[in-house]
Amino acid sequence: MAATRERKVPALVDKPMDFCPGCGHGIVSRLIMEALEELDQLNNIIFPIGVGCSSNLGAGLECDRLHCCHGRAGAVATGMKRVSPDTLVVSYQGDGDAYNIGIAETFNAAYRNENITVIVINNTNFGMTGGQMSLTTMEGQKTSTSVHGRDCSVTGYPIRFPEIVAREFPGAAYAARGTVTTPANINKLKGYIKNALQAQLNHEGYSIVEVLSPCPINWGLSPVKAMERIEQELIPYYPIGEFKKRGEEQK
């Protein structure tokens, strides 16, 4: 019989977080904490936290954090980092927060090349308020505000923000997209998160990691089917990988 290892919870997590069954937030939260631990930064971290399901991160952590106005974490993180240049500042936001209402702050923080890390959980809808359409909702996807399926001719096409950062902002240090569908992808995602944090630690500039994450409740799918949807529907449109590697020159 194989030896069982004791499950170790990262020190910054002090309580369970209230995510729905099958949600991906919990995995990502844990990966961030593990990455911080491995980089020896548990005592050097501030989280400006978005509004939405991402808010639950703040409920479970034992560290410096501030809940921002909806969409404004990019600006709050800017203020924090400018006065605390040696402290890690990591914003944790959903796609509705970072892209819909917060696109100005998200875009401009990247544009100024603030030395911050942005983690965006992309579950293709507004999770907390009941699954409304967001900027990342797929064409044809049914949500509570696109009941016949998203019509991109009148609502725009799903946004791929990390690609914009990689393409348009020459100073940015790092841009990647990962997912939580398999152990292999989770390991890869952890590597992306560590890279993003390392970039900030080295004062290399702006870093962003978007995560394709399941929202079984609002998608009306079982947790397993929700993971399958990411693999089959989302990844072909939202490729996973590193779009701007550290130390890479602008192409």
Binding site: D18, N43, N44, I45, I46, P48, S55, G58, A59, G60, L61, E62, C63, D64, R65, L66, H67, C68, C69, R72, G74, A75, V76, A77, T78, G79, M80, K81, R82, V83, S84, T87, L88, A104, E105, N108, R112
Partner: protein, 353 residues
């Protein structure tokens, strides 16, 4: 030795000397020179300056800097201050100090560039969502503005509240002789986020908002009791008491001095805190006075609501009338205030309350 300085530049330098080490904001007439000055000055003193993408972003950057324990500043006017209201409400909710300067300009919507006092109600009633107040200081000269910058930060940190410096376009744009204060030494606030979690903040889902609301009311009661500031002259024996703040307050002081010299028994209360309103000044008013008269740079009369409330509260036995002299697009000259005073005295102006 006083030196001639443009208001906005003197105010910006005074903020630096009061310990402000972070500025974020967006340009708007008539306050832009504050950010222009700080765009180079902050760096000289080891502070940070960000030209924000909007007023919304500006106040949220202030939230970030203040959360990390640094004296933070933003400045704007009219519509820009409206955009900041969610952030100001959030600063209040988090108990974070900050100073917000508004050089008020006249108008609804986009408004105009004329100096004004049209935002009295917004600033003194909280302005954003919720159940809160900001301390509102309303200086009447560039020197007074400069002298109030350090007290503004002290008040904001003492009560963990936002302090609004409610100026006027005129105060930012005119030049006056100014003596600048000395530099204040500051250190990060005890509740600053340092990354080390040495200030144990509870999570939002564990907060008891109803209990906090009661504590907030106790805080506001303490501010009302302890922090009323005003200037008064000639109110103990006055037949008519003027109430005016800011630059119109200065003009009114000139008017009452001339009227006194002509034998008219008039006085002035010039609020220096618009919130808390200087209620205590009203206890000094001659109980036999025939009316209070506000002088305001707006069309509809806003200050008169508070003046009426407190004259009637303080002198309950008599229904002392409250009049409003409102002047739009202008700081009223002394001669206009005097002429309108005589119209009131002759019964030609109807009281508001």
């Amino acid at each position: 030795m006083a030196e001639m300085m443009k208001g906005n530049e003197a105010i910006a330098e005074a903020a630096v000397r009061a310990g402000a080490r972070f500025y974020a904001g967006y340009p708007i007439t008539p306050s832009s020179e504050i950010m222009e000055y700080l765009s180079w000055r902050m760096e000289e003193v080891g502070g940070s300056f960000v030209q924000a993408e909007s007023e919304l972003a500006g106040i949220n950057m202030v939230i970030g800097a203040s959360a990390c324990g640094v004296r933070a500043l933003t400045a704007s006017s009219g519509p820009g201050i409206s955009l900041k209201q969610e952030g100001i409400s959030t600063l209040c909710d988090e108990g974070l100090p900050a100073v917000v300067i508004t050089q008020v300009r006249y108008g609804n919507g986009l408004g105009t560039l004329f100096t004004a006092q049209c935002d009295y109600n917004r600033e003194t009633r909280g302005g954003g969502q919720g159940d809160y107040r900001c301390i509102v200081l309303c200086p009447s000269s560039v020197q007074e503005f400069v002298d109030l910058m350090a007290p503004a930060y002290e008040l904001s940190e003492k009560y963990r509240i936002v302090v609004i410096m409610m100026g006027e376009g005129t105060l930012g744009q005119m030049m006056e002789p100014v003596t600048l204060p000395d530099f204040v030494e500051t250190k990060r606030t005890p509740w600053a986020l340092t990354g080390k979690y040495d200030y144990k903040k509870i999570g939002i889902f564990e907060r008891d908002s109803r209990k906090e609301a009661v504590e907030l009311r106790e805080k506001y009661d303490a501010i009302k009791e302890n922090e009323q500031r005003w200037f008064d002259e000639g109110i103990e024996d006055a037949d008519y008491v003027f109430v005016a703040y800011g630059v119109p307050g200065r003009a009114t002081l000139g008017a009452i001095r001339e009227l006194r010299a002509e034998g008219e028994k008039v006085g002035l209360i010039r609020p220096i805190t618009a919130w808390p309103f200087p209620e205590k000044a009203f206890a000094k008013i001659n109980p036999a006075c025939k009316g209070v008269i506000t002088v305001e740079e707006n069309a509809t009369g806003q200050l008169v609501d508070d003046a009426a409330l407190f004259i009637k509260k303080t002198h309950k036995d008599r229904n002392i009338p409250a009049y409003a002299l409102t002047y739009v697009y202008n700081t009223p000259p002394i001669r206009s205030i005097k002429a309108d005073y005589f119209r009131i005295k002759n019964g030609e102006v109807k009281e508001v309350y």
